[in-house]
């Protein structure tokens, strides 16, 4: 098994853990951590794929774009955390399950 395979298997394991965390939705903290794990496993996979480019400067530009996307992802996560704080402070909703009042 070479290093590339280990890297790929780790990414697959991280993606699985992230997806499980999101679907189980136990607490807000676990939800945020799961989202972060999922997003960084995807971004790591992208940075691996970018290495397949034939022109070296394209790989460098690609890595710069990945860094930019990481920053963007962090700011999106910031808005999400702010929303959780707002809901927690006003409604005292400790867990995601509390918010299931709207019915069709």
């Amino acid at each position: 098994m070479n290093y590339l395979c280990i890297y790929l298997y780790t990414l697959i394991a991280l993606t699985t853990v992230g997806l499980y965390g999101i679907l189980s939705k136990k607490t807000w903290a676990k939800l945020i951590i799961s989202f972060e794990i999922l997003s960084f496993s995807f971004l790591a996979l992208l940075s691996l794929l970018i290495m397949s480019t034939t022109v070296p400067s394209n790989a460098i530009l690609g890595e710069s774009i990945i860094v930019f996307l990481i920053l963007l992802d962090a700011s999106v996560m910031g808005v999400f955390v702010a929303s959780i704080f707002a809901v927690y402070r006003k409604l005292n909703a400790e867990k995601p399950e509390v918010l299931r009042k709207i019915k069709g």
Binding site: L72, S75, A86
Partner: protein, 514 residues
């Protein structure tokens, strides 16, 4: 100044106003003075920006049409205006200006957070306009995420149990959508960068350049390209409520604070529909065909048909007014996708001189979002009287003729009744589908067109049921509604409803942009 500079000035002015409103709010402590200062400045700046964008539109129509106007130098191709982007931009600013009057009429100026609400409102409008200006994937992501963040900020205002739940549902879907968009754009870059032998730069992600580069992608990289397409469409689809990512949308329509929801529909949803149409056009040149339809078209057809069926049939069985509108919005997302099929089948990106292809989808986006926003605003006013379900609104036209009449007209447009804008919009859906048959003769398209026509009958059924409850049935309750509505709250909605009537009888007004 060219149209792009005028529009960019308008957008910059709104961003600056968001900061100034916040400063004024903190400086003026007296509630009465604060109310007057904030109202005057807030509406004044939006009106100034509206005039700038109107001037940009007029200049474009008379001197630049149909080419795309883009800046030179450092910003080369990162921003651009053409008929499609200007018409949506004009609709966003005009409808936001109108709905801002409704927002101000409904706002409680004694609350400290109201100042923040006004600032976030301005950021949302400016971001939605910036999205229509974007002509590069990276620029688009930045403005789109700002737009989504601002929409979440609006929903956080005046929170109660239901609106808190709506906020969290939207926040969850937004983070999934943001992640999907980031991965989609990353995969798009990977497929392009692996396919070309020359150095790329940031301008290679400009829409027109990307469209050309995509046509050179060969197997096996096409799989990555198609994956990027699926991620990007899923991302924007989540935000506009495309099935199977639609579950959150009816809940947000049901739980949210009404002024925030109306604003979100006229900004985030309108610009989201624009983005989906723009991006789908870029993928028109993917060189892979399956039985005369390319794979993106088939993906799109499945998503669109599912959305329309789920939206229309679910709306049919709802009793709560806001949920009916919510499911109608899901169906509208499906219709928008069906209209975008036009670009994929013809292999045309609606940019610059080809932007006339975008006329049907532009009309649909404007008509459906104005109908949705005005219906939501009117239902919000109705709910203040404690009327929430179909049974509650029996005979409302007799009790409150102006409110009931406006609600009836707005809903009639939403369900596609002539002579209102909604009818022309739905007519465009069917004609666009049949016009696809000139290029590709395929049974799937004929089947979808027939299905859509049948579902128009379903939407008319639940639309007419609401009208029956409003106008024909008599009220069960002996309690009389308040005869006088607040004129300041009703007037902006009445203007929106009259726009629907105007576009219905004179749809050619919009063709001036193309």
């Amino acid at each position: 100044m060219d149209p792009l500079s005028l529009m960019a000035s308008g957008v910059g002015l709104i961003y600056a106003s968001a900061v100034i409103v916040q400063v004024l709010w903190r400086m003026v402590k007296d509630v009465a003075k604060r109310k007057n200062v904030a109202k005057t400045f807030f509406i004044g700046m939006l009106a100034t920006s509206f005039f700038l964008i109107t001037a940009a539109s007029i200049e474009y129509i008379f001197w630049y049409k149909p080419v795309s106007v883009t800046p030179g130098g450092l910003f080369k191709g990162l921003l651009a205006v053409d008929g499609f982007s200007l018409s949506i931009g004009f609709a966003v600013i005009a409808s936001s200006l109108i709905i801002s009057l409704f927002v101000v009429a409904k706002m409680d100026f004694t609350k400290t957070e109201s100042g923040m609400f006004l600032s976030v409102f301005l950021v949302l409008v400016a971001s939605a306009l910036s999205v229509t200006l974007s002509s590069n994937f990276i620029v688009l992501i930045v403005f789109w995420e700002t737009c989504v963040g601002a929409a979440l900020g609006l929903l956080a205002y005046n929170m109660n149990r239901e609106s808190g739940e709506a906020l969290m549902k939207m926040a969850l879907i937004s983070i999934m959508s943001g992640l999907s968009l980031i991965v989609g754009v990353g995969l798009l870059y990977v497929s392009i960068a692996s396919a070309v032998d020359k150095p790329l730069n940031i301008y290679s992600l400009n829409f027109d350049v990307t469209s050309t580069l995509i046509s050179g992608v060969t197997p096996p990289l096409i799989s990555i390209l198609l994956l990027s397409f699926a991620f990007i469409i899923a991302s924007i689809g989540m935000e506009i409520g495309l099935a199977p990512f639609h579950m959150w949308l009816p809940d947000v329509y049901t739980g949210s604070h009404v002024p925030a929801l109306s604003t979100m529909v006229l900004t985030l949803e309108m610009s989201g529909a624009y983005v989906i149409a723009r991006i789908i056009g870029i993928y028109g040149s993917v060189p892979l065909k399956v039985s005369s339809l390319s794979i993106p078209v088939i993906i799109l057809l499945v998503f669109a048909a599912f959305s329309v069926i789920v939206g229309e049939l679910s709306a049919l069985v709802q009793r709560r007014l806001r949920r009916i509108i919510g499911y109608s919005a899901v169906a509208d997302a499906g219709y928008i996708l069906l209209l975008a099929l036009h670009f994929l089948i013809e292999g045309v990106s609606p940019v610059g001189e080809w932007s006339s292809y975008a006329l049907p989808i532009t009309f649909f986006i404007i008509a459906s979002n104005i109908s949705l926003a005005s219906s939501v605003a009117l239902i919000g006013i109705v709910e203040e009287k404690g009327l929430r379900t179909l049974d509650d609104i029996r005979g409302i036209v007799r009790e409150s003729p102006i409110l009931g009449g406006l609600l009836t007209v707005s809903l009639l447009s939403l369900f596609g009744t002539p002579p209102l804008a909604g009818f022309i919009a739905k007519f465009f859906v069917v004609t666009a589908l049949f016009s696809c048959l000139r290029t590709v003769t395929n049974g799937i398209i004929i089947f979808i067109a027939t299905l859509v026509t049948l579902l128009f009958a379903v939407s008319s059924a639940y639309g007419l049921r609401i009208i029956q409850y409003c106008c024909v049935m008599s009220s069960k309750s002996t309690k009389r509604y308040e005869a006088k509505e607040s004129i300041f709250a009703l007037m902006p909605v009445a203007i929106l409803v009259s726009v629907l009537l105007l576009l219905g009888v004179a749809p050619f007004l919009l063709t001036a942009f193309f």
